[in-house]
Amino acid sequence: MAGDEVVVLGVGMHPWGKWGRNFVEYGAVAARAALADAGLAWSEVDYLAAGNTMRNGYPGYVSGSTFAQALGWRGIPVSSSYAACASGVVAIESARARILAGMADVAVVVGADTAPKGFFGPLPGDRPEDPDWLRFHVLGATNPTYFALYARRRMELYGATTKDFAAVKIKNSRHGVANPYARYRKEFTADQIDESPIVADPLRLVDICATSDGGAAVVLASAEFAAQRADRARHVRVAAISTVTPSYPNTYLDMPDIATDSAVGAPPLERSFRDSIAHAAYEEAGVGPDDLSCAEVYDLSTALELDWYENIGLCGSGEAEALLHSGATTLGGRIPVNASGGLASFGEAIPAQAIAQVCELTWQLRGEAGERQVDDATVGLSINQGLFGHGSCVIVTR
């Protein structure tokens, strides 16, 4: 159904790091890079969608207008989306909906963040009714605490070990060495990982992704607009976008909640929330896990990457460790995962990260990923989950 697809005309990023500058600068650099990559001028853009940042004051809450002003006011409509880690894809979905509705031909989607040092905390104030405040105040349950709960569950249910988690770090850090936009371009060894301090047992500091500054942008266009361009061989199509929320009863303990739904009085779910994220995208794209050339999954922790293998259907429950050790998810394998280096090499720049995943898939499908190129990539999937119940998954095809 080509008429229901939008096309990625351009992608761009500002390198990840801890630069300490205004997030607007990273976003503007990324947007200009994406426009240059598309061979388009800002004056040709009909719509701008952006992902918000919660830690940079008011400009972060109105990111759409913030970036429109930075690129130069032109009177076009904007939107500002927040869905935690899924913000970038919710912004992409906003742009796609606008294009498919015939209300825009070309849209720019931008996300950028300037991150504080250390643990993410809740917003300031005294708010016992806010689950995000409550979990820190009453339990000291940080994000790594939840990652550790999931990791421990893998160990107990499937016999995973911290050596398996380390193998994810080694793989992703090796991939990231070849990525000029990655913050950490250093290959880790098992010994170095062993020396890393434990933050939330069973996870070490190097198992948990850092908080980073960075910016990413994509230029989307209608199929009609794209068909008139000269660079059609570089075009990548958006075959599906999933922005699903959980279904009741969600009995898996998700951040930031301190208790799950009760399963009493409701029929059991056909699939878990995390499983439902990719499922919706596969249904829309008309492809399945066997069709994927590569995937970018949200490795907030090393152990979580293994969960994602199962959630996106690369293998069955409890089989992720074997898949990892088979080499299938390493560059050169059957289905390389996080060829970009993943969050292990980037750290997380919240509203930019899901957009950065799509940038990587686009480079892979164009054959422009250089030393980290996946052979003959034709179908790519990116996936993540934002706290408070946001799923995000994008499938792109060539």
């Binding site: 940080t142 107990e156 933050v199 047992d201 799950t260 009760s262 009493v264």
Partner: protein, 143 residues
């Protein structure tokens, strides 16, 4: 004189005379689902539509769903203690309510001895102390 014991948050739990405790939740009289914290006055089951919740005390025992051990001080608003002491957390599945509830591990429950499915019991313990009060919270103790 012992210091008065004050819940770290009002209305989430109740402490008995002997350190036993109950979590205060809501239960829908129509579909039977429990909620913790009670938070709202209506049922969240989309197939139910119940508009009132009964006040209930949740089960005090359950089985271990997962656990973790925190080695670094969390950011505010964690009240914590100085110097920082590592603390475990446990996610416990309540059989009757069919839900998972997170809590810190009680003093004396060693993370190294835990395994999924272990039976756990709710107790009320100090989260931190000030000059004039012991601020309490619910915790999970291995049985």
């Amino acid at each position: 004189m012992s210091k008065p014991r004050v819940p770290v948050i009002e209305g989430m739990f109740r402490e008995g005379l002997d350190g036993t405790g109950r979590l205060l939740g809501g239960r829908c009289p129509t579909c039977g689902a429990s909620f913790f914290p009670k938070q709202w006055s209506f049922c969240r089951n989309p197939a139910c539509g119940g508009t009132e919740l009964d006040d209930v005390e949740l089960s005090t025992r359950g089985t271990l769903w997962s656990f973790a051990d925190n080695r670094y001080a969390p950011p505010p608003p964690y009240p914590g203690r100085e110097p920082f002491e590592p603390y475990g957390v446990a996610a416990v599945e309540l059989a009757e309510e069919q839900m998972v509830v997170l809590g810190q591990l009680a003093a004396g429950t060693d993370v190294a001895t835990l395994a999924l499915g272990r039976e756990m019991e709710l107790i009320i313990e100090a989260l931190y102390e000030t000059d004039d009060a012991v601020h309490t919270v619910w915790k999970w103790r291995a049985i």
